[in-house]
Symmetry: C2
Subunit: 205 residues, 2 copies
């Protein structure tokens, strides 16, 4: 009996507001009090759900990494065709839509925490490793299906993986829209070149 718990839903609400404010003003300028003010609730309610600010930040990191994971999602339509699946992933990764859906500033802000917080470090490490494994899996599948001419799958996957991180890193500073798209296209090309593939025109959406 008693009232039914809103715990999980409420925690997510709080983290979303946290995310929004931190995106605008930076992680270091976003306090519990400010989140509470924005939500028009009492600061102690936030502490009620997350016992400490530290836990709240861990929640944000989870939230951010979950979003990041989406970049590697494959649509059901291509899940049977390994070649199309891989091309979709490459196409997705090097598409400008992430610019709107995902905030790089927070991604790097939280990443910086990994250097003095073991828990954050583990979260990032595990995520990145799982994404790389996923990429290896897709490429391996393509090779088995005979649609990809590659010797060392791991090395190829690794080079693409690093290309992604580096591309995202630099692109975050490019504000000119045309330059942004131009570079994005170049990086995609480079990814395909690493895979020994030509430019993709067949796979759209």
């Amino acid at each position: 009996m008693g009232r039914k718990s809103l715990k999980e839903a409420r925690k997510k609400e709080i983290i979303k507001v946290f995310y929004g404010l931190a995106k605008k003003n930076g992680l270091e300028n976003t306090s519990i009090a400010k989140i509470a003010a924005k939500m028009e609730i009492n600061p102690s309610l936030i502490i009620h759900y997350f016992q400490t600010r530290e836990d709240l930040v861990y929640g944000l990191v989870d939230y951010i990494l979950d979003k990041y994971k989406l970049i590697y999602k494959v649509s059901a339509a291509h899940s049977k065709d390994s070649r199309k699946a891989l091309l979709e992933i490459i196409g997705n990764i090097f598409s400008k839509k992430w610019n709107a859906l995902f905030d790089d500033g927070l991604f790097y802000g939280c990443y910086a925490m990994a250097f003095h917080d073991a828990k954050v470090r583990d979260l990032y490490k595990k995520l990145l490793d799982s994404l790389r494994e996923m990429l290896i899996g897709h490429i391996e599948q393509c090779r088995e299906d005979g649609v990809l001419d590659i010797e060392d799958v791991e090395t190829v996957a690794d080079n693409i993986f690093v290309l992604i991180d580096g591309a995202y890193f630099y692109l975050s500073l490019v504000s000119d829209k045309n330059e942004y798209e131009h570079r994005l296209a170049k990086y995609r090309q480079q990814a395909l070149s690493i895979l020994h593939l030509k430019e993709l025109s067949e796979v759209a959406g």
Copy 2:
């Protein structure tokens, strides 16, 4: 007349202590008071030299980016031989010594600030662009000297540039020494492959 100014030297001292503390505890956990305590001086002295905390942070960013620039330095010995100069740069970049000399955590922490601070953004953008230009210059020189078989210099430079950023990004999370060195070697190999060069055994130090 009057006392001679220690301003610049003192500012640098303060920033070095700032750097040291922020490296250990994170940027967000390093206050003016803590820096002052570590130096056994009065907090107001720090404000005397840097008018606001904001300015102090800008000073730190400058300091960090200056260090980062060193990665691209070419020793005098190789400055006449474009091929050796390029190989030295590649060798330098993908060497583990930066792990000790340079703190990636702060680099990313400050980088995150670029997303909501125009000044920091400009500092990073200008530095990265100048480094890329530098790389283009070296590669272009090699091509002119006929020691490099490359069509599109800018694209090649860009791909290496992005490889560097991506490599640094992921390597920051690799704590196992053997894996670290193994990956580093792989990334260097990939850089040379982009340049259409074989593994370098001739250039040491």
